[in-house]
């Protein structure tokens, strides 16, 4: 076999270590999960995962996570673009801030967001605060009630305890993924290709669509996938901003915790297993698209 000389020696050692490491931290816990679920009969398993409240939770978790990942896909791409291509004062600081959601305990984020977005909060009652602030200044200048109260209530965003609020916190926890996967590709990007496209008569939009985007597409897609996967498992921040009503605004992780609190371990793992396999399928599908895109690019 004409295998190239490995950079790091000791193939069997590294392989053994990798397998051990993966088993210890991934395979054994997952096997335990599946094993615990097998204590249920098929009937019980089916009954657990088709309970309307559980189904509604799956719909909410996957729906909100997908929506948050898509928004992150678009906004994260713009953020990455601006950070790489548009020098502005304080860019380094903003760049560092991107990692913030990684480090912040998500419960803290949940509390902060839910306080901001309640009816009397800074964002939840932004229009009302604007009116009262302006009127306060106006009154000092001799024009009381400058703006009628409620005139700017379209600027209120009381998203606490709504499912839109769930999407907001999921956007927060997923933001770094898209930015951090797209950024290096943009940094490595050779400007000459753009200039070539331009010289061939392509306008800005065409250049972006036909030349730049195909190049960053695989990274962008994996960023979104990571954001999506992260959102599916998110618990800490969501329970603070969601209203947690069964069948309406309970996410799957909360369903699992609820089952555990009822001492129904097997039922809890059953929901966990479904979540796991559904996520796995989605990740595989997205991976497939990525591979297909890379191959197409190489052919082109």
């Amino acid at each position: 076999m004409g295998r190239a000389t490995p950079v790091i020696p000791g193939f069997s050692l590294t392989l053994g270590y990798t397998l051990f490491y993966l088993s210890l931290f991934v395979l054994i816990p997952l096997a335990g999960l599946v094993f615990k679920t097998t204590q249920l009969t098929w009937g019980e398993f089916w009954h657990t995962i088709t309970d309307p409240v559980v189904v509604a939770a799956f719909r909410l978790t996957f729906g909100a996570s997908a929506l948050a990942a898509l928004i992150n896909g678009i906004c994260g791409l713009m953020v990455a673009w601006v950070l790489v291509r548009e020098p502005f004062p304080g860019r380094k600081l903003f760049d560092a801030l991107i990692d913030f959601p990684f480090a912040l305990p998500t419960a803290v984020a949940g509390i902060a967001f839910s306080t901001l977005y309640i009816g009397s909060g800074w964002i939840g009652g932004f229009g009302d605060h604007l009116v009262s602030g302006t009127n306060w200044v106006a009154a000092r200048l001799g024009h009381p009630d400058f703006i009628p109260s409620g005139a700017l209530s379209f600027l209120d965003f009381p998203l606490s305890n709504t499912n839109a609020g769930i999407v907001v916190v999921l956007i927060f926890v997923g933001l770094p993924f898209v930015v951090r996967t797209v950024q290096p590709v943009l940094q490595e990007w050779d400007l000459e290709q753009e200039q070539a496209a331009e010289s061939l008569g392509a306008n800005g939009w065409t250049t972006f669509r036909r030349v730049i985007f195909p190049e960053i597409f695989p990274a962008w897609l994996s960023g979104m996938t990571l954001a999506f996967a992260r959102a599916i498992g998110e618990y800490g921040s969501v329970i603070f901003i969601a209203s947690n009503i069964p069948g309406k605004s309970q996410i799957v992780p909360l369903q699992i915790v609820t089952k555990l609190d009822e001492f129904q371990y097997s039922e809890a793992t059953a929901i966990g297993v479904v979540l796991l396999f559904a996520s796995l399928l989605i990740l595989l599908a997205i991976n497939g698209i990525e591979v297909w895109a890379r191959r197409r690019e190489q052919v082109a």
Binding site: V53, N244, I245, P246, L260, E262, E267
Partner: protein, 365 residues
């Protein structure tokens, strides 16, 4: 970058050493460490009682006892004990959670008779917290069902307090028989009636079912724990009335200011009996049964009963209860035993998978 990583690792190691440190010293010579696994609101109560107990036990026996505390949602705490948390004693919010530990084989059956008063050294009840001046005129249970009233209460699947609240509304609507438990006669009569009760018509009460179904339509946020519900009501300003433990309502007043809220007592409510038990399998292994027994006995002493009153729980000792009667007025209360035939039955009917609570929230699509 590399240096900061080392700093982080150092911190983690130091934190781990701190966490492990005290546990290692347990039972060297005359030192004993007890672990009391309790529910959410009792943090302050038990840290006050533990100091008194340590002192009293040292004076009596010369043994140094350190009582460690763990707090969290009642069911979550029970699960931790079932999963191997080495609790010498459990002091939980609901009897059904201790029943779950019993079912796992860690506590021997009959624990409810091993300590006086249903193994509950103190009681509490469910009452209302409303905005100052009671702008929505919320006086009694039926006012919670009005369409203009938003109610904050936790999810009974995950919160003990919410389970008591659910049963309180159900029993009050079903016209359960009540007692004045601040008198010895009332107390004796309620215990006798609880033992004698054979059938429980409250379960079949259609008005009660209609009432709880209606109530949860007025709940905009369903928090997972009683403390979360308090925060939603008091700090986030959501809802017109908070349904919670009496002691938690006083804590909210202490914490957020008495000028913001009023406590309203409904005409009748439930006798909340948070039970205590020794975890037999743990004390037998750790050989701490004598200390654990002394600790739980101590909860019934005058000194501990007084602390219980200070923290707005209702002391079992009638004299001590009288001392705090300005804050804890005599109420008409009904018991779970007489009205619902005990927690095992109530849990199964109302809160188990597919029970009445699940029916209320069954999505219609």
């Amino acid at each position: 970058m590399f240096r900061s990583k080392i700093a982080v690792i150092g911190l983690v190691v130091a934190a781990a050493a701190l966490a492990v440190g005290p546990a290692r010293q347990a039972r060297s010579g005359q030192d004993v460490t007890l672990l009391n696994v309790s529910y959410d609101p009792t943090r302050e109560l038990y840290s006050a009682i533990n100091d008194l107990f340590t002192e009293a036990y040292k004076a009596k026996t010369g043994v140094n006892v350190t009582v460690e505390q763990s707090h969290g949602g009642s069911s979550k705490q029970a699960r931790a004990v079932i999963d191997g948390l080495q609790a010498d004693v459990v002091t939980l919010g609901v009897g059904s959670d201790i029943l779950a530990i019993e079912k796992a084989g860690l506590i021997k059956p009959g624990w409810q008779d091993r300590f006086p008063d249903n193994a509950s050294p103190y009681t509490s009840t469910v009452a209302f917290l409303v905005r100052k001046g009671n702008p929505k005129h919320i006086k009694d249970w039926k006012d919670l069902l009005r369409s203009d009233v938003q109610v904050i209460v936790a999810n009974p699947k995950t919160s003990g307090a919410a389970r008591w609240s659910f049963l309180a509304l159900w029993g009050a609507t079903a016209g359960a028989k009540t007692y004045d438990l601040s008198t010895p006669e009332g107390l004796a009569a309620s215990i006798a009636a609880g033992k004698a009760a054979k059938d429980f018509p409250a379960y079949k009460n259609a008005a009660a079912l209609a009432a709880v179904t209606e109530l949860y339509k007025h709940v905009p946020v369903l928090d997972t724990g009683s403390r979360g519900a308090t925060v939603t009501f008091a700090q986030k300003g959501i809802g017109d009335v908070l349904l919670n433990w009496e002691n938690e309502l006083y804590l909210a007043q202490d914490e957020f200011g008495g000028d913001k809220f009023d406590i309203v007592y409904p005409s009748t409510s439930i006798l909340g009996e948070p039970p205590v038990a020794i975890v037999d399998s743990v004390v037998d292994k750790k050989k701490t049964r004598a200390v654990a027994q002394a600790y739980l006995d101590f909860l019934y002493s005058k000194a501990a009963q007084d602390v219980i009153g200070q923290w707005h729980y209702r002391p079992r000792d009638i004299e001590t209860l009288k001392k705090y009667s300005a804050e804890l007025p005599p109420l008409k209360l009904f018991t779970v035993d007489e009205t619902f035939g005990g927690w095992a039955r109530a849990q199964k009917t109302f809160f188990a998978d597919g029970g009445i609570f699940d029916q209320i929230y069954k999505p219609t699509n």
